[in-house]
């Protein structure tokens, strides 16, 4: 209570629970990785006093404007906001029966959503899970998804958790809610097929309809998960849920723990990321580019100021660019990581004089030709996946053999201006490691790096030869987009 005491022309009601809730909300944001400073805290309070409170969307946007300063963090913010300032309490219907009364711990529950609840949901609050209810629910869900009715979907998600996701406990406070159970019962996956048919009838392409339907079902899944979080938060406290049930933002998500939907999102991130990196690099190079004084130009420029050299001119420095050779483990466990790193490196092609890429499992295979300038991301990914089969002769990861083969067949790729980049988890199925060959290769080039997508604490466990390779080539942990972009930046 001590902090904003002096900063608050609060409305009278705000002193009650709202301030505490506000502070614990900010703490949850900080814990989730958003750098919310005290200045932003005070801004948020100012925002809340300046805004009318009759529309939840307005309050949410105002809050976001004050505390979220990076778009990637918006998803985390929204999840936490729903948790700390829930859209409705419980089923949202008990309140309607029990008359009007101040609702919600924060009072930000918008009146319009509850009135819509009333006329759209003629469901008796007591009605429970049974086959008929399920059939009825699925029909309504399908209709809402086909129409893309956001309001209705939000209500249905709440209903799904309330009816099909309840896990009654043995005592008060022990009951809980499960998005998993709800989704198992409702099985929105089965609706996909019918959704696709509907979209095809609208004249969409096959592939596109599939994707759109998948996306809508994915959205619904997310809503159900959010609603389960909300209900659990209501019973066990929002802090508890914020600590345990939130996923990190996409740029901090581990390569090795990605879901399919994450992969798509990542792919969209790659080009903007490469562009950001390239801009940053050019700017940094520019900053260092001021060369020696260009005497002639300086004197000529001074003529207009009566011989006083007000502006000095400098000779530009010659840019120096390096070549890059990437060796990439594409075996199943690290394939995602390898693909993203390859894509990123190739998106940064202009920064290097020359880039060559090789993939391996137990045999080396050059993939440079897949990355034509201006090539399509989707095609490149497909080609890369197809070429993984060339990289395996026996099918088990074997770093030693791959390195030997590389030295044998592609030794010309390595030169004094080359940077060598090895990507992989260094798990070589207890085979020979070819340490000497790798040391030779590393000795011939300017820099050599090894990027390992595994957490440092997993190195050297099982068949990992991380530290033995690390003695030959400096090895760095690279588990998410943030680390990856830092590394690529240092590399250049």
């Amino acid at each position: 209570m001590s902090i904003p005491d002096d900063a608050s022309p609060h409305p009278p009601g705000a002193r009650s629970g709202l301030l505490d809730r506000h502070i614990s909300f900010l703490e949850a944001l900080r814990a989730a990785g958003l750098p919310v400073s005290l200045a932003e805290d005070l801004d948020a309070v100012a925002v809340l006093t300046a805004l009318p409170w009759d529309d939840r969307a307005v309050v949410r946007e105002g809050y976001a404007a004050a505390v979220v300063k990076r778009h990637a963090q918006r998803a985390t913010f929204d999840a936490l906001f729903d948790l700390y300032f829930p859209r409705l309490v419980g089923d949202g219907s008990t309140r309607l029966d029990g008359g009007e009364g101040p609702d919600g711990p924060d009072g930000s529950d918008s009146p319009d959503s509850s009135t819509q609840d009333a006329d759209e949901r003629p469901v008796v609050p007591g009605s429970r899970d049974n086959a008929e209810a399920l059939r009825d629910f699925r029909e309504r869900l399908e209709a809402a998804m086909a129409a893309g009715d956001e309001e209705q979907l939000a209500r249905l998600a709440a209903e799904a958790v309330g009816r099909f996701g309840a896990m009654p406990g043995r005592g008060p406070g022990l009951s809980s809610w499960s998005a998993y159970t709800a989704l198992q019962r409702v099985a929105p996956g089965e609706i996909v097929e019918r959704l696709v048919q509907g979209l095809l009838a609208e004249g969409r392409g096959e592939e596109e309809a599939q994707r759109a339907a998948g996306q809508r079902v994915g959205d619904f899944t997310r809503r159900v998960e959010a609603d389960a979080r909300r209900r659990i938060g209501e019973e066990k406290g929002a802090d508890h849920v914020a600590r345990t049930a939130l996923r990190p933002t996409i740029d901090r998500l581990d390569f090795l723990q990605m879901r399919r939907s994450d992969l798509e999102q990542m792919r969209r991130e790659i080009y903007p990321l490469a562009r950001r990196l390239a801009t940053r690099l050019t700017q940094e190079h520019h900053a260092q580019r001021r060369g020696p004084l260009d005497f002639r130009r300086t004197v000529r420029a001074s003529v207009s100021t009566g011989g006083v050299p007000l502006t000095t001119h400098h000779k530009p420095k010659r840019p120096h660019r390096s070549e890059l050779v990437v060796l990439c483990d594409v075996s199943g466990s690290v394939a995602n990581f390898a693909q993203f790193t390859l894509l990123l490196v190739f998106a940064l092609r202009e920064q290097f004089t020359k880039v060559r890429a090789f993939t391996f499992i137990d045999h080396i295979h050059e993939v440079t030709h897949h990355f034509k300038p201006g090539a399509d991301v989707v095609d490149v990914m497909a080609d890369l996946a197809a070429s993984a089969s060339h990289a395996a002769l026996w099918g088990r990861t074997n770093y030693g053999r791959a390195i030997d083969k590389f030295a044998e067949q592609h030794a010309d790729a390595i030169g004094p201006r080359t940077s060598l980049l090895v990507l992989g988890d260094a798990r070589s199925n207890y085979s020979d490691l070819a340490l000497d060959t790798l040391a030779d290769l590393a000795g011939q080039c300017r820099h050599a790096w090894w990027l390992n997508p595994e957490h440092r604490r997993h190195w050297d466990t099982g068949d990992s030869a991380a530290s033995r390779y690390a003695e030959v080539v400096p090895m760095v942990e690279c588990r998410n987009l943030t680390q990856l972009s830092e590394l690529v930046h240092d590399l250049l």
Partner: protein, 291 residues
């Protein structure tokens, strides 16, 4: 002065000048005015970031002062500069007279020899002003340091003259394409708004309002097609500006039905990479042979 009296007021008055907002934009714009905080807008190119600043100026009858950022922008271009040549002339002219050096010195560092650049201009203006700092991500990091004083205290310090504080706080809008991460210090001083592609309903309204003479049916087709294009994995997704261009093209070509052939013939207006066009043709099953 108050810029807007409520989020709804902001939405209405911006709408009246031809800028259609959504809830987030209206709320944040209102807050920026009410709290007198700079507003940082990020988002993909062509979604109306700069346009918003212009609309705020139009809605309030304020003057728009624009600082276009670029690589190598420096203090002299952003804040102020002394007019050296004129100062030299002044010194040379005073050599014949018996004015002392002190007098001359005092003389050459006055308003007469000061070239004000956008930031200083915006602060010194007494009338309502919207200060637009465009594409702030294009500048070097040092310029951000320069902005800090302006953004937090609305003042500029000129060593020879002292501190110039704002008579009237301007409405400050910073735009960025997020090609570079801005420093925490700048972000902390701003309210933040991420502008994204609009939903189809709003986009249709925008296109119709921007392009008179466009039939509703075609507008609906066009917006649906643009939305489908944005769902594909493209290098550069079409922006609002490109939807509007497309609508204008259709009017110019007198196309009243956006069928596959029409899309095919005019795809170059919205997609500007060869690979993007190929992808669109493939995914939307357009018949390229008919071209």
């Amino acid at each position: 002065m108050t810029w807007f009296s409520s989020p709804t007021d902001a939405a209405d008055r911006l709408g009246a000048t031809g800028y259609l907002t959504d809830a987030a934009t209206a709320t944040t714009t209102y807050l920026a005015g009410a709290l007198e905080k700079p507003l940082l807008i990020e988002g993909p190119a062509g979604v109306g970031k700069t346009e918003l600043a212009k609309a705020v100026a139009r809605a309030n009858g304020a003057e728009l002062v624009r600082l276009q950022c670029y690589e190598g922008l420096d203090e002299a271009r952003a804040l102020y500069e002394w007019n050296y040549k004129k100062q030299l002339l002044r010194i040379q002219a005073s050599q014949g007279t018996d004015a002392s050096w002190d007098e001359t010195h005092d003389d050459i560092f006055t308003d007469e020899f000061l070239l004000t650049r956008p930031l200083l201009t915006a602060i010194r203006r007494e009338e309502p002003t919207v200060l637009l700092i465009d594409e702030v991500d294009k500048t070097d990091v040092e310029v951000e340091g320069l902005l800090l004083e302006v953004l937090s205290d609305f003042q500029v310090t000129i060593p020879e003259m002292g501190t110039v504080a704002a008579v009237r706080r301007p409405f400050v809008v910073l735009t960025s394409n997020a090609t570079r991460e801005l420093s925490e210090a700048v972000k902390r001083r701003c309210l933040y708004l991420h502008l994204d592609y609009p939903d189809s309903e709003r986009e249709r309204e925008i296109v119709v309002s921007q392009v008179p003479g466009l039939e509703e049916a075609v507008a609906t087709q066009l917006v649906a097609m643009v939305a489908r294009l944005r769902e594909l994995e493209l290098k550069k997704a079409p922006s609002i500006a490109e939807s509007v261009d497309w609508a204008r093209t259709l009017i110019a070509l007198e196309i009243s039905d956006l069928d596959d052939a029409a899309v095919n013939a005019t795809l170059g207006v919205v997609l500007k990479h060869v690979s993007d066009q190929e992808r669109a043709v493939k995914e939307l099953r357009l018949d390229r042979a008919g071209r």
